[in-house]
Amino acid sequence: MTSSTKIRPLARLLDTSCCPVWVIGVDGRLAYASAAMGQWLGIDPESLIGRRAISGAPESDELPDRIAAALAPPADIDSRGAAGLRLTLPTDVPAAADARGDWAQANFVRLGGLHDRAVIGVCSPSGQGIDPHAASAAFQSLTTESTALRQQLDDWRSRHVGLAAIVSAGSSAAARRLRIRMNVAASLRTHVGLFGSEGCGADSIATRIHQTSAPNELLVAVEGPLMDAELLDATLSSVVAVLSESPESTATALVHGLDDTPIEAQERLVELLTTFAGRLRLIAICGAAPKLLTEPIEQSLVDEPDVDQTTLVGLHPRIVDFLSSLSITIPRLISRTADLPLLAAAVIDARHAQGEGAGNRLSRPALDALVTYPWPGDFVEFNQSLRHAVRTSPQSVIGIEHLPLVVRTYRESGNVTATNVTISLDDTLRRYEMQLIDEAVEAAGGNRAEAARRLGISRARLLRRIDEAGQRANEQ
């Protein structure tokens, strides 16, 4: 590969192409020549770098200078932006017959303005197969698509940044402290642990922290609970590639559910964070009260052959070390009752501004219902409920009847419906779990280890469940 450090990633991509590609810098000299140039011309592409590429004006009679001059774009490339040209190569080019003393069809695209321009040339050695307009369009679409993808990403992040602003709004002490910690995290580029209940808006806060502290840094999102070490490597391969490319490059891994991530994947993450210390940042989203795997417990479990490593969860002690840099606890909405009117107004304003419905303010009964509901799904449920209300309200004032049924019918006793039927969720789940275990044990011919494997749980866990079920049966 022949290129400067700064364009290595692009150069590697272009080197895989069988078409010769070259780049002429703002000084009119060759800045890059792809590997295919060597095959096409029969000379080392490196020897072309720095040679002046101005048509008919080689710097010397040396062959590389004459070739560089032959690779020049049309003189009017600056005004046209893109152009096709038949190149006439020197007759003594030591290459394949189709290049020597013959012509080749080349296409050029100018990138940038007059003072920072670069011209990219691409060629079909045989003079066939590349339509100049198609080639120009392809180059243009390459830059257009990258811009559009970046735009999609920016839109996505902006949406989250807006949500994070809403989540942290309010005058309560909890809201104020949350904002202070978010601002500290956003002003530093450091590992951050976000701790909160499900639906607390941690995703949006994490995106806001990244967007504010390192907006141009590569970020890869990882769904921790679904990872194993191998899949984590694959998911973070783009990060590793970028970090390995240059000692100056940085990247961020945003890991959802880190405390539910299998221990082997956490260990791999620790290795990566250690290898790329200071350059790979971790933003971790964890539950409100994550289990900590202490080192003695961890070691004993690792030594236990019957323990399925992929189901061993909790926070690895080394991960806790990293997250001790800065941790943010996101308070539950139920502990911020005083903030709810402001949060509701902000959500409704945002929804209304997006044209999602006519509703733009809450009636008093609707606001009372919001304040007296416990929000088990936290901010996500709050946001969803108000979206529903904005959409269903035919007029500007949102009434209580426009709120979701579960919110407007909630009573402190917990009886949501008018019926007196009481269902124990825990009992139902236990019965369902035991039913699955019984079926698995039966299917495995009574082999409990095999049944555990089929269920994707450890044998110890399966045995514990069976014992618990037996004890419950005895008590009854």
């Binding site: 698509e145 990882v222 783009s238 494997r453």
Partner: protein, 175 residues
């Protein structure tokens, strides 16, 4: 696409605490969206051959996952190629009210933008849907972008599928 559940803005995707519902007893489904049949064949192989994943994960792949394919570029009954609205509508029918679903997108450079737009929409409207991708040789920047927009795991080629298949099974079991 009109979702059953309100837009969650993609927050707290793949939420860890699942609701117990009768729908969770529906067969888990993987929908492969591609222009040909390369990926569906690969998925069928890796989900049907326990030994392939067993050797890597140490567990069987008694998956019971229903596979189906959707080809946006293939002509629909009306004779026209499926446009993005039609695809969204079809996916909405597949996803609505079904918690144990996953989508595998074939993503190439020429459909990258269209796919990422749809991936983002699905993540916002159906955050519990697992989205996977077959990407070929995307740049690190594009790979990172699709992960942020909603792709949980990507395979460059069918040879990368075994760990992704294991993850899919873990996901379906966790529902």
């Amino acid at each position: 696409m009109t979702p059953d559940v309100p837009d969650s803005e993609g927050t707290d995707r793949l939420s860890r605490g699942r609701r117990f519902s009768p729908e969770s007893l529906d067969p888990p489904t993987l929908t492969v969206i591609e222009s040909g049949s390369r990926w569906i064949k690969a998925w069928r192989f890796f989900l049907a051959h326990p030994s392939t994943t067993e050797s890597l994960t140490g567990r069987t792949s008694d998956h019971g996952i229903r596979l189906q394919s959707l080809s946006p570029e293939r002509e629909s009954e009306s004779g026209a190629a499926m446009d993005s609205d039609h695809l969204e509508s079809s996916l909405g029918d597949l996803l609505r009210g079904k918690p144990r679903v996953a989508i595998f997108w074939e993503i190439s450079a020429d459909v990258l933008l269209a796919r990422t737009a749809m991936i983002t929409t699905i993540r916002r409207q159906y955050p519990d849907c697992l989205q996977l991708a077959g990407t070929g040789a995307l740049s690190p920047l594009d790979s990172a972008a699709i992960s942020e927009l909603g792709i949980t795991a990507a395979a460059r080629g069918p040879e990368d599928l075994p760990p992704v298949a294991s993850m899919l099974q873990r996901f379906m079991r966790a529902q």
